[in-house]
Symmetry: C2
Subunit: 477 residues, 2 copies
């Protein structure tokens, strides 16, 4: 299986399945391919851990945990408690890195535990459909290849020249202390999570976005509530064009469009999306057809690119860049690479995305459309939310007009990170609003707020199923 380069002593290798990229998707793909009986190689230039553990989910949630702790401690006077708090930003950042490093080292340990000779620490690029050239000059030939190279932050042109004033999700968690002011470029989920957290820790935050869409939301009513609630904590300038220049070690930003102004910031955090990291891979050499972003066209059910022995997995495919999908895709792609050409279609889960702002925002399944029945419920006066002093938010649920099967939900309110799972499961099981209303809702919980929306859907659909069961709120609840 090896060929030695006469001049350099380098060894070419061959295998059944080569996986490029050792993040969540790549590790899952290698594991699944090996489990399916394939001889595998896992190629990565760093083996430094995963986007999730290093610069994604985990450090951002650690930052958010500290920020919410500070925010909650400040608001205890509503309960009759007096408080004084001060944020030791160096200690906050140190705890984030310490805990983050714990998660990273667990990943690194799982890499260490891989079978010997599976891991190749090299850059790789395609030189043919089934052949990769490595950085050291050797080559890998595989019966099938899984591309799992992940994503990298996009840095729009005006910000590329900011040098060390510029931050992304890949550098911000390394800050020893927090700056006094940060401009956040991008009002997507990542930008809003970090913006709210940093604002709660005392950083002067302004958010800017070229587009008008907040958190990538398709539901205009929820977006309006989201903007109103988050807007109490930091300003958001949407539909603006931003110019920037360095000025005395800081960034001077000027913006125009729906609003205009200028301000100076110690730092600029660019959260303008994480496009697929395909540049170094030379996908052209495979002859695959690609979309306008240079991503090979692929079947989401098999993750195969056309009829080729090439598969995509994880953030690199430009869809559903969340951990549980990267893991699922790695598992599907790795197994199908091993089975190639007898690939199997996998059932993909309903889409589920959660933004861990406070309150959190969850989007599940389809976007709203005119042909659907919609039920909504406000959390501004919801019982348990009032009790907790967290009464804000709006949820909207969408169902087929014909049959009333729930197809999607957009949930912004307290506890919606949890309630998102109820809906993901309900959509997978083709539940209707009338059927869900027969299930138990405990009192007093945030979950009870769903019933208002579900009842509205039943009324809108003219559901006969409700009869005398739970057609109104419980008395004295």
């Amino acid at each position: 299986m090896r060929a030695t380069h006469a001049r350099t002593g380098l060894v070419d290798r061959s295998c059944d399945v080569a996986v490029v990229g050792a993040g969540t998707a790549g590790l899952a793909a290698e594991r699944a391919a090996r489990k399916a009986g394939a001889k595998t190689l896992l190629i990565d230039d760093a083996f430094a851990g995963t986007t999730c553990a290093n610069v994604g989910c985990m450090p951002s949630k650690l930052l958010i945990a500290a920020a919410n702790a500070a925010f909650d401690a400040r608001r205890v006077p509503i309960f009759g408690i007096q408080t004084q708090i001060s944020v030791d930003d160096r200690a906050v950042m140190a705890r984030i890195r310490k805990e983050r490093d714990g998660f990273v080292s667990a990943t690194l340990k799982s890499i260490e535990n891989l079978p010997a000779e599976v891991c190749i620490r090299q850059r790789a690029h395609f030189v043919g459909e089934t052949r990769l050239a490595l950085g050291d000059g050797s080559a890998v030939t595989a019966k099938a290849i899984v591309i799992a190279t992940g994503s990298r932050p996009s840095i729009p042109t005006p910000f590329a020249g900011l040098g060390d004033i510029l931050l992304t999700n890949e550098t911000i968690f390394e800050l020893p202390a927090l700056p006094r002011s940060i401009a956040v470029i991008g009002a997507g989920p990542l930008g809003l999570e970090l913006a709210q957290a940093l604002a709660r820790l005392g950083v002067d935050i302004k958010v800017f976005d070229e587009g008008e869409r907040l958190a990538a939301l398709h539901d205009a009513e929820v977006a309006k509530e989201l903007r109103s609630v988050l807007g109490r904590e930091f300003p958001m300038h949407l539909s603006v064009k931003v110019e920037t220049e360095k000025q005395g070690g800081q960034a001077r930003l000027s913006w125009s469009g729906d609003s205009s102004g200028e301000a100076t910031f110690e730092r600029v955090l660019v959260a303008a999306g994480r496009p697929p990291a395909l540049h170094a891979l030379d996908v052209k050499a495979t002859g695959l057809r690609t979309n306008e972003h240079g991503v090979p066209k692929f079947d989401p059910a098999t993750l195969q690119c056309g009829d080729a022995p090439i598969f995509l997995a994880g953030d690199v495919d430009g869809q559903r860049a969340v951990l549980h999908e990267a893991y699922a895709e790695g598992t599907i792609a790795g197994r199908n690479a091993a089975l190639f050409p007898n690939v199997e279609k996998a059932k993909r889960s309903v889409s589920l995305a959660i933004m861990f702002t406070d309150p959190p925002l969850a989007t599940i399944g389809v976007s709203p459309s005119d042909v659907m029945v919609v039920g909504s419920s406000s959390y501004v006066d919801q019982g348990r939310a009032r009790v907790e002093g967290r009464n804000a938010g709006l949820i909207r649920i969408y169902a087929d007009r014909d049959g009333g099967v729930i197809k999607g939900a957009c949930l912004f309110g307290p506890g919606m990170d949890h309630i998102a799972h109820l809906f993901a499961w309900a959509i997978e099981r083709r539940e209707t609003a009338a059927a869900l209303l027969q299930l138990p809702f405990y009192h007093p919980t945030f979950e009870e707020g769903l019933k208002t929306a579900l009842r509205e859907m039943c009324e809108a659909a003219g559901s006969a199923e409700l009869k005398n069961m739970d057609s109104e709120a419980a008395p004295g609840a």
Copy 2:
């Protein structure tokens, strides 16, 4: 429909359905009976609102919200934040009553909106199967009667003589300020919720229980973890006999059994159960068969007592004393009272009980038994729980060995008040562990911790369904 007493001018009334007790169950029963076409009367001596709103769910959750706010504010140093807090107990209690009164007034408004002549403000007791004597000397005759008189706190003998040192859930929320020390009698859900909350607000708390069972738990392993976690905040003396005497305006308690000692407390909070409030009703006059607690025997599917035109609803039946069940029972009983003798069997939901300690405890469905497959998962090192500094707890899930259908769960850990709904719904839908593992779990969430337990169940059951899907943890998650 009326007969006038010649001597007193009092009017006897008759109706289709008379409901005794205007709490959650009684109000629901009257509404359901009326909706089913019955002429109704609703009899209550106070019309003061519901147990839930006045002295139950709502004020206890308001107390807990304040307590957790204080506790969370004190623990922010783990995140790198400095804090100083002081509890203004008069302000805490004032907020509880103010918000509580808001919930109560919503109930009172719904009572005001009832049709004229439905409400009778009188005590009532049975003088026959279908006849009630009222406190004013008049009578009500009904084709069917719903008993919805609720429950009252039990005061065990040694504490009955404590006078105003004694507190129950019906008086504690009226305290203008918090005492320095409270002995809590009863380690059930109500006692533990209040004990933890009061301890977090600075009250010196000790809990005592004659029995050895904590929180009415049947799962010994979860009970052990619960005792260990709550025991960090206040001592619990289980399996002890307690004696008490007044001493200088305080209560001197001595206890012996599994532990022994004595101590003085400013107040004693008795949370030793809330038995059915049947005493004043003279159920004997109906001729119904009763159980050892004096509760008429009834069918949980119809809520009918034997073949009689008498129905039970809510806490008075001594089962599932939680609001959503009181509401469901009121609806079933009221409708069946209207339909009598053609009563219909209703589908009852899986049992669901949540104790809102921190972390919360939820019990759903059946208790564990030797014939079941059990999966468990610790939250001591769970990812998101670590991030939030809430890493404590244990969950256990039970399924039929044959087929793997999930039948029950005992969940103690962060977010389990929410996750309880996932399990209640899953049990209603006869899900298996293998099927649940195919559903989406977002990262990083408390919900992910379930997967460990579900995988354990699949292994124990030798599930073939898992194949290559999600048989291990996601790499780098």
